[in-house]
Amino acid sequence: MTVEKIVLNTAKIDCTGCKTCASDLAAENLRHALARLTGVSKVQVDEITSKVSVEYDTQKISFSKITERIEKLGYKVEIVSREEIQ
């Protein structure tokens, strides 16, 4: 089993102005949507900086499947780091 950890910067494509309360809701949605993907073992979403970190089993799910899911939820994704941790 190979576990990778990726850290992504995400931005809501149609984001304008004040969103903090709303972003709590979005962060919760994002967290749950990613956590449910088969092969994903850990998800952290920072509701203010929109930084997402995901740990996943590379044999069960591909990197692109994860970013695709985030993009489908209306975010732009930018890779900050990607490393094998196990």
Binding site: C18, D24, A26, G74
Partner: protein, 641 residues
């Protein structure tokens, strides 16, 4: 939920330290004053989530209540430490700055935690769906029945589903008979019969019989998983009205900065430093930009969540706004208002021949035909309990009928096969049947017409109610169909649509929708596959019976997962309510801020009261929006009245 528990503990600790600090300050303990200051400062520090939120949001160019609160608390703490002792932690008659900041931090943190909780609850509908996915499945392996995690089930395997168990996969029944409650998917709580050859969905509940199901889709590929993903995506899509709220919030920061500064300046010169400081802090604390920014997203999430529990997927906030304006709903006929499968509705006979004879010979001749009308006849024979022998020979002439032999008997089916043999009586009867929009199929034995089988598409059980409900909320209805005028007229009269158009080719349907759209917001309801172009041309496209058809779910603006057309009215009514909630919330939040800020600027509020007001404003907006989740369909009588 773990974060919520953490939040509650923080709130409680903050409260305890603040209270202890305030109590000790008035007591006779040694170093009472110093201990009190220390305890109060710890309390204020425990509100660190507020300050983190506030400071980090500033870095991202956002304006939040937490930002104002952070500034206000900072000013108060500094004032409390710097100003003379009397106003620091409190005297008998007034709460000092330091204690006030602890109380303010307590209220804001409590408010934030409560909002987190409500937001969490807004996801309730989704969570309920997610919980419906079973985590294990029973399968046959190496001759024994074993229970394995759902991840390990492979395509093509056979899963066993016992009565009372949830079906773990999408698949086809290969043995057994049962009823299945598919409410998770379709929103319809009346169970449906499932037997060999029927499709089943993951997350639905098997009721009374054991089923063996061949696995076709698992995990993220199942219909249930798709629904969950679609609902998540839909909740993320903004409603256009959000832009109005965003425009307010964009101006919030500059307005607040100017206001806080002017209040301080004016009060300082008119009433002195103490008053000026208190008023400025109050102004900063009473502002509640959050109520504006959160009103719409929570309402969108609540509405889409509610719809999903009723078997309706609304694909985003934009469609909620369109739905509320719908004045006309156009329905496709075949497969939408009607069942879409022709059925034998009547059998007319001549001479000494019985209904059984007519169906029997018709079924023999049609036994190997794939034509929908043949299937209707064979199904009828089956219902009548007949065993149908094979024809000796048969010839299907497309568009005309069938010419077959059974032993030494010659069977002819279809009008064009027997133009010369048909009697005047039979001919008249058939014309009459056809004016009713039904299909008359004559059956001849040795060139004698022995009977006429009447076949018609039947109206869906709830089509009439669906139309009545729409009328009840002031929405007009139309039917557009490719079928002939007579059939169209007959069905239109049965279901009671306001207008209908017949003999339309798919491109004519697109044009018909365009025509209806002049001066109306038009929704179109179809199967989502054949009607895709017309659905796309309408303002809101509804695909019905969409469970299991990914194409239909993808293309539609609103997908009805079951066959229940009454959901069209529910979707419109729910959207109307949702929109008025959103609009109401924005106006309310705006007015609230204006009034609260005015009161604060004129010194009518104190900081603690201000923060209570601000939190109350925000929470009432969130609660009002979240309540959309609990909306329920009205009974028909009320909808009509």
């Amino acid at each position: 939920m773990r974060e919520l528990t953490k939040g509650v503990i923080q709130v409680a600790l903050l409260g305890i330290f603040a209270l202890a600090g305030a109590l000790i300050s008035g007591s006779q303990v040694a170093y009472a004053h110093e201990v009190s200051i220390a305890l109060t400062l710890i309390a204020v520090a425990l509100g660190y989530r507020i300050y983190l939120h506030g400071i980090r949001s500033l870095r991202h160019g956002n304006v939040t209540a937490q930002l104002f609160a952070t500034i206000a608390i900072f000013i108060s703490v500094v004032a409390g430490l710097v100003l003379p002792q009397a106003s620091a932690t409190g005297t008998a008659e007034a709460v000092g700055y330091l204690t006030a900041s602890a109380i303010v931090a307590f209220i804001i943190l409590a408010g934030m935690t409560l909002e987190d909780y409500i937001i969490h609850r807004t996801r309730g509908a989704l969570e309920a769906l997610i919980k419906m996915s079973p985590s294990t499945a029973h399968i046959h392996r190496n001759g024994a029945e074993v229970e394995i995690p759902i991840d390990e089930v492979k395509l093509g395997e056979i899963v066993l589903v016992k009565p009372g168990d949830k079906i773990p996969v999408d698949g086809t029944v290969i043995s057994g008979h049962s009823t299945v409650n598919q409410a998770t998917i379709t929103g319809e709580s009346i169970p449906v019969e499932k037997t060999v050859g029927d499709r089943t969905f993951a997350g639905t509940l098997n009721e009374n019989g054991a089923l063996e199901i061949k696995v076709e889709k698992i995990g993220e590929e199942t219909t249930l998983a798709h629904i969950i993903q679609l609902v998540e995506e839909a909740q993320e899509k903004k409603a256009p009205i959000q832009n109005v709220a965003d425009r307010f919030t964009t101006y919030f920061l500059p307005i607040m900065a100017v206001l806080a500064f002017s209040v301080f300046a004016v009060s300082y010169f008119a009433l002195g430093f103490d008053v000026a400081l208190a008023r400025t802090v109050t102004v900063l604390l009473v502002a509640c930009p959050c109520a504006l920014s959160i009103a719409v997203p929570v309402a969108v999430a609540g509405t889409i969540g509610n719809a999903s529990m009723n078997g309706i997927i609304i694909k985003g906030g934009t469609h909620i706004e369109k739905l509320k304006d719908v004045k006309m709903v156009a329905f496709d006929k075949t497969g939408t208002l009607t069942v879409g499968e022709p059925k034998v509705v009547e059998i007319k006979t001549f001479g000494n021949y019985s209904e059984e004879d007519t169906i029997k010979y018709a079924a023999i001749a049609e036994k190997f035909s794939e034509h929908p009308l043949s299937k209707a006849i064979i199904a009828k024979a089956g219902e009548m309990g007949m065993k149908i022998p094979d024809p000796t020979d048969f010839k299907t002439i497309p568009g005309h009928g069938v010419d077959a032999h059974y032993g030494n008997k010659h069977i002819l089916i279809g009008r064009k096969m027997m133009e010369t043999e048909i009697s005047k009586e039979a001919s008249q009867l058939m014309s009459m049947i056809e004016t009713e929009g039904k299909t008359a199929i004559p059956v001849a034995l040795d060139k004698n017409v022995i009977g006429v089988v009447v076949v018609a598409d039947t109206v869906r059980e709830n089509s009439l109610e669906a139309i009545q409900r729409l009328k009840g909320i002031g929405v007009k209805t139309a039917m557009i169909t490719g079928d002939n005028m007579r059939t169209a007229k007959s069905i239109a009269e049965q279901v009671g649509v306001d207008e209908y158009q017949a003999e339309l080719l798919p491109e004519d349907k697109v044009a018909a929708i365009g025509e209806l759209k002049k001066g109306n917001v038009v929704a179109m309801v179809g199967d989502g596959v054949n009607d895709a172009p017309a659905l796309a041309n309408s303002d809101v496209g509804f695909a019905m019976g969409a469970a299991g058809s990914d194409v239909a779910v993808e293309t539609a603006d609103v997908a009805l997962l079951g066959d229940d057309l009454t959901k069209v009215e529910y979707a419109i009514s729910l959207s109307r309510r949702a929109f008025s909630t959103m609009k109401g919330n924005i106006i309310y939040a705006f007015v609230w801020n204006v009034i609260a800020l005015s009161l604060a600027a004129f010194g009518i509020l104190n900081p603690v009261l201000a923060v209570v007001l601000a939190e109350a404003g925000c929470i009432s907006v969130v609660v009002n929006s979240a309540l959309l989740l609990l909306n329920k369909p009205k009974p028909l009588a009320i909808a009509v009245a």
